[in-house]
Symmetry: C2
Subunit: 395 residues, 2 copies
Amino acid sequence: MPDDFERMWGDLAPVGRSASSGGYFRQPFTSPERELHAWFGEQCTARGLRIESDDFGNVVGWWDIRSDDPAVLTGSHLDSVLDGGAYDGPLGVVSALAAIDLMRARGVVPSRSLGVSVFVEEEGSRFGLACLGSRLAAGAISWDVARSLTDRDGVALGDVVAGGTSSLLAGVGTFVELHVEQGRDLVDRGTAIGVASEIWPHGRYRFDFTGAANHAGTTRMEDRADPMLTYALTVLAANEQARLAGHRATFGRVSVEPNGTNAVPSKVTGWLDARCATDAGLAELVAAIERQAAERTEVDGTSLRLTAESVSGSVAFDPALAAAVAADHEGGDWPIIATQAGHDAGILSAAGIPTAMLFVRNPTGISHSPDEHASIADCLVGVSALADTLERLTR
Amino acid sequence: MPDDFERMWGDLAPVGRSASSGGYFRQPFTSPERELHAWFGEQCTARGLRIESDDFGNVVGWWDIRSDDPAVLTGSHLDSVLDGGAYDGPLGVVSALAAIDLMRARGVVPSRSLGVSVFVEEEGSRFGLACLGSRLAAGAISWDVARSLTDRDGVALGDVVAGGTSSLLAGVGTFVELHVEQGRDLVDRGTAIGVASEIWPHGRYRFDFTGAANHAGTTRMEDRADPMLTYALTVLAANEQARLAGHRATFGRVSVEPNGTNAVPSKVTGWLDARCATDAGLAELVAAIERQAAERTEVDGTSLRLTAESVSGSVAFDPALAAAVAADHEGGDWPIIATQAGHDAGILSAAGIPTAMLFVRNPTGISHSPDEHASIADCLVGVSALADTLERLTR
């Protein structure tokens, strides 16, 4: 079966890849991502999987089994962050298809239906809200709210997808997502596979700093209201707060108006990505950053408006399921580890579907970067681990 | 003649104006700016001025006089910064045309040719180099260098204009530019018109900070190489250095890769606009900012590459000409004042053409902003002052 995995991996490699950076630009409802969806449909058809789509662009390929037992769903996503890596998302989809191939090669016939899912806009790289497809499928966000989300060009989600309803999760009793690890926990433990215990609470917060545009040459420093200064102080404050307390805080995206070299900006918008081990810690972290930003507006003569664009509370995956998935393997149990990254699995778990995640070792820990990597050997161990897990769950 | 000025001003008001901000987007060789150039051609034709263009997009409307004496040129530019004001540039062009109308109404016939000039890309808002058109006309930059300058979409100057040579300045003995003041010196003095003594040395410097992209959630703070932090520290350092020493330093433009909320950036590029009263002071200011930036790269694990995109040395306008222009007016001499803003007049002066600048009072001092303003009454005093000046110079 290694051939199947490597062939599929080779199919995906060129799609949406930047020749200059080597990273991927697979934003939802753009042509590279649509090409991946078409490819997924072909793969399902070739395996005799029945394709079911919902009104939001999510899709499942079903291995239908006549049974009254709740189905098992596995899969991930095909979209990427801007200039992202090859593994985040596609590894889970390709591994799911390869795991079905492996189960069939082993002669396994599930006792209940088994589906391979692809949820759209997991990264939130286009419409700003991560796990948008799984939120819509699970009813965690209404279409009336989601349809108005806009991308950087002002295009609304409602303009690119019909919207409506989803019944993809109707008969689903368990969800399993395999994902490349985004960290070095498994490297440190010397093991290829881990199982998720929990996802840290995390959120995206938009900081709009407003000042007054003016000439960069003729305006005396003391006569300015420069929002770039308030932004800069906030970036450093966020880093310091997170560093001191063992949290995570990042300003990775900024937008400046008018963004001209010889003009003091009128407005600077920065997006904070913040994550903590606890919900209370996350709230405290954001409040501390906001406090320092607000203090600095007094110095700079600027103003701040803070908007929480999305906040995802702590997710504890079903502990009994995690223990069952992790136990009794050749060479010992798989370790059960926490992650700071959000996933569709977190949305489905929060929606009440017992959910498990498998992680595949990432030798550098780097993710959301062209340098993201996992060895082919580890990926194949991942396929085998996923096949084992699905076999147990559909027995 | 007030009617002529106000009619022309009304012609220009809607062109390239943003409905949301009220500011202007008149980037060189884009349709709003081309519309302004077409309008200028019509205005010249209506006045019987002979139109002469060069290969770079610069244009002069000539009031030809049969004489061996060197010509007098007046004018300014029609392009704007991003989201700029109405006055910076167009005021000098419209006032020049209105001044010719006024001279003719007064029965003045010049003893030498008088031209109205429009130089392209004065702001450097598209191709990054301010006073690009006048630099090319004056031979201060070669076409071989300029043709490769690119805009933010990668379009080269050589793709939008033919390039070649210019003889616009061949017979020019004096240049006069009228401009809205970008500061409050004239407000403080209670006078509508001033004459320029000098332009501060100034430059644009690109700071490329390189780090390593990674996942904003899973990457521990201590494992990051985040160039946004180095950029933020540099922004604050530049402000502090300039504030303490009475210089000017601004980061008004920034570009981030990949600029995604949930990814530590791989690269942050910031553009520094720096200005000082002396050439030595400017070099010291930039060196001090670079030193602090470089120190911070050690902390952040990032790297810095600094590129001086343009540096304009101190310009002292012809003092005898300034004194002659400023002297003997009703209500006393016009004040002679320094400016921190670059102008085409500075390029022509540095190229050896005796040059003068007139400033028109700006009640708020705000420029490079939709809020830039001058009263109609002051603008008309400016037209009259320019007509007086041209009459003296062409007598």
